[in-house]
């Protein structure tokens, strides 16, 4: 009786558990409505056998818009260039900002896309576009990169979540939520917004492991009885979600950065971003297909150079450490690192020594998997105001990412009878940066 009453727990607990199931796996009505629309999706369990050795992605989301001029596309000496110099990298002819000395010695691992022209300088809608690679239609919400990778690379028998996103700062968080769109809640992210640890996956102290197991068995028994003679994608998805619960609960230690040797923690550094990226490495190593680490907030309308002086060295150090760490673990062929934001920053410098929103000529990087290391694509003019060659839009960038992960950008999902490719028709990957 005591054990039974502990199952009920608090109202807060029941809400948290439901929230978890919604985010990490699938839950009732939401899934039902999504999954019935998405007719091509068999029950995810049935797709598991089709999935191969999977690639994984760590997205470093530079929320608010990091300046391309203070990172990947410096213009020293131009009136728009700001005070920082450029430094030579280990790729002949490629120079980046002096704020990134560590990445300068690792650019042989990385591809720089310098020709982004995404035409949208509004935080909210630009963030959605750059998370999805295209704009939603009035009646169709596309899945974001994380959801697609979770769908394509996640394993049905996985004991870890498919899509995890860290976004601890409050600014801009609501503008760039992880979203699975028409893929449904099964591929929605597990969102960590208050700290680095998803406390709701912890088994309550008031319930024993045996009790939890027995309840699972009871639920399975009832489910099987209910399922006799019935066939439903929703029911299969629901069953799979519950089957994954214990595995995901067991993954709680993946989020515990203290499980890493101190020397590894020291190597990444003490900042929150550094710890989250280290956890991201732990997650992808354990098989999580997609982790986004949101690093807010780069929106430097005032004091752009001070802001970048503070934040770019952190990005430089953490990104370089992550590349080294993944390389030493032999994971660079299977893990992709992407740096991306909703846009970049204006070449012009305002009276507050700030830079404003700018989407006409900015930069992103891709490292690992099928990306040609040490490559550069796109060129901006001497003042950084326009792309003069090899222009790239959001769709092409995403097609390139998908291709480098071994996914066919033209692969179709079906919503009802309508085929929906991973990128819009006519959009192609940048072959020049693919291996």
């Amino acid at each position: 009786m005591t054990r039974r009453s502990s199952f009920c727990g608090s109202g807060a607990h029941s809400i948290d558990r439901r929230a978890f199931l919604g985010g990490a796996a699938a839950v009732g009505a939401t899934v039902a409505s999504d999954m019935t629309q998405l007719s091509v999706l068999a029950a995810p369990g049935a797709n598991g056998a089709l999935k191969k050795t999977q690639k994984r992605v760590i997205l470093l989301w530079l929320a608010g818009g990091a300046s391309q001029l203070e990172t990947w596309d410096p213009k020293p000496g131009a009136t728009t260039g700001g005070p920082f110099r450029s430094i030579q990298t280990d790729v002949p002819g490629l120079r980046i900002s002096e704020l990134m000395p560590k990445m300068a010695t690792r650019m042989k691992t990385t591809c720089v896309i310098r020709g982004l022209n995404t035409k949208n300088g509004d935080h909210g809608s630009a963030a959605v576009t750059m998370m999805k690679g295209r704009r939603d239609e009035a009646a169709l919400r596309y899945p974001d990169l994380g959801a697609v990778v979770a769908r394509e690379m996640g394993r049905a028998d996985s004991k870890v979540p498919d899509y995890v996103t860290f976004y601890t700062q409050t600014e801009g968080r609501s503008m760039a939520p992880g979203t699975s769109g028409f893929l449904g809640a099964r591929y929605a992210p597990m969102e960590l917004t208050t700290n680095n640890y998803p406390e709701f996956i912890k088994k309550l102290d008031g319930i024993t492991d045996l009790d939890h197991l027995e309840r699972g068995e009871l639920r399975d028994l009832l489910g099987k009885q209910f399922g006799q003679g019935r066939s439903s994608e929703t029911m299969s998805s629901q069953n799979e979600a519950y089957q994954r619960v214990r595995g995901i609960m067991a993954s709680e230690k993946l989020f515990d950065v203290t499980q890493e040797p101190q020397k590894v923690r020291d190597r990444y550094g003490p900042t929150q971003f550094a710890e989250q990226v280290l956890i991201a490495r732990r997650l992808v190593e354990a098989g999580v297909p997609f982790v986004r680490v949101g690093r807010a907030w780069w929106d430097s309308h005032g004091q752009n150079f001070e802001t970048h002086q503070e934040m770019v060295p952190e990005l430089d150090h953490v990104m370089a450490t992550l590349i080294d760490d993944l390389s030493e673990r032999g994971m660079m062929d299977d893990v992709m690192i992407v740096t991306l934001a909703e846009f970049g920053r204006t070449p012009s410098i305002n009276a507050s020594l700030g830079r404003d929103h700018f989407a006409s000529a900015w930069s992103s990087t891709i490292t690992g998997c099928g990306i040609k290391p040490g490559s550069v694509y796109g060129k901006s003019d001497p003042k950084g105001q326009t792309v003069v060659s090899e222009e790239v839009d959001a769709g092409s960038l995403f097609a390139t990412i998908y291709s480098a992960l071994g996914l066919d950008p033209d692969k179709n999902y079906h919503v009802g009878s309508r085929p929906i490719p991973l990128v819009n028709p006519g959009v192609h990957a940048i072959k020049a940066v693919l291996k």
Partner: protein, 333 residues
């Protein structure tokens, strides 16, 4: 020497400039000023010329953020970490030092013109012999990291009127007063309100001590910057000045700002110590006069530029302000 009344302030010249001017040095009574600019160049500007056309002298490799006149020797400092000595009479560069490991923020000369001090983001203040270029002191009293493990910055430096004291101020609001002769630390003051760390919303910081000025008797030290900021995407904190009895480390007056937002980038006392003038800005700028003894704001004048620096005459009757795309001259009295 009785100081002119701030009520008499009037703009007498105003020039537009393509570049941002970060620093100015102008000898007392001279029509010529030296400018450090965002186009990496150092200029000589003749304010008596019928057509205002600053003449390029030489260039650094980044923003020129400090210029100081030690007699006829000009010393400039830049984000390139270099200090350059220039003979203004001969029109020749004398020497260039790789002075700092990081970006130089300010360069000043002692009142007697014998020393030059530079501060940079390597968090070191260096004192140089103005004539020989020889390093006299390396003053280390500021932490390289903020409490949040990001690189700190050392923005401000000032000599006392007798040249015996030097003050330095950093990003987190820490001020150190030094004995110029020995290079020893004499005292510290704290102005933490000048530093805003936003952990919850944006996870970075803004602010810092941007200006310092000793009172003519050397007993008080004025500190300029910006008050706490809500949205650190913008320079929206109130322009702020605090005055310390630096020996006691005690705040004696504060001017939290009620009209203008932005950074107070430059401070100076009137020759009789009766008022203090601060200049700075955000999208626009200001010149503000304070009475530290009465703890009263005397005058607040809007300027059409974010002011980065000014030169003030010994009598306090001429202020030449430089900043974002403009240069303005004001007279008092």
């Amino acid at each position: 020497m009785k100081a002119p009344n701030p009520d008499t302030l009037k703009s007498v010249k105003d020039f537009s400039r393509q570049a941002i001017t970060f620093a100015i040095a102008r000898a007392d009574g001279s029509d010529t000023a030296y400018l450090g600019c965002s186009d990496f160049k150092v200029y000589a500007a003749d304010f008596s010329a019928t057509k205002f056309e600053p003449k390029e002298l030489y260039a650094h490799e980044s923003y020129v953020t400090g210029v100081a006149l030690a007699g006829t020797t000009l010393v400039s400092g830049s984000y390139d970490g270099k200090l350059t000595w220039f003979d203004t009479e001969e029109g020749e560069t004398i020497r260039t030092h790789e002075a700092h490991a990081k970006w130089i923020r300010k360069v000043i000369a002692s009142p007697d013109g014998k020393l030059v001090a530079s501060v940079a983001d390597d968090m070191v203040c260096k004192v140089w012999n103005a004539a020989t270029g020889k390093l006299v002191h390396t003053l280390k009293g500021h932490k390289e990291k903020t409490p949040n493990d990001f690189a700190s910055m050392l923005y401000a430096v000032a000599f006392s009127a007798d040249g015996k004291l030097l003050a330095t101020g950093d990003k987190v609001g820490h001020v150190v007063v030094w004995d110029v002769k020995t290079g020893k630390e004499l005292g510290t003051c704290e102005a933490p309100v000048m530093y805003t760390w936003d952990k919850q919303q944006r996870n970075h910081s803004i602010g810092g001590i941007r200006s310092l000025a000793f009172s003519p008797d050397g007993k008080s030290l004025a500190v300029g910057g910006m008050g706490k900021v809500g949205n650190i995407d913008h320079l929206e904190g109130k322009a702020r000045v605090e005055v310390f009895d630096w020996k006691a480390g005690k705040l004696t007056a504060e001017f939290p700002g009620d009209k203008f937002v932005g950074l107070v980038n430059r401070l100076a006392w009137s020759p009789d110590g009766s008022w203090l003038v601060g200049a700075g800005g955000a999208g626009e700028g200001f010149l503000c006069f304070f009475d530290p003894a009465a703890k009263k704001t005397l005058r607040q004048e809007k300027l059409m530029m974010h002011v980065h620096d000014f030169a003030i005459s010994a009598a306090g009757d001429l202020i030449t302000s430089v900043g974002h795309n403009r240069i303005t001259v004001h007279k008092l009295g």
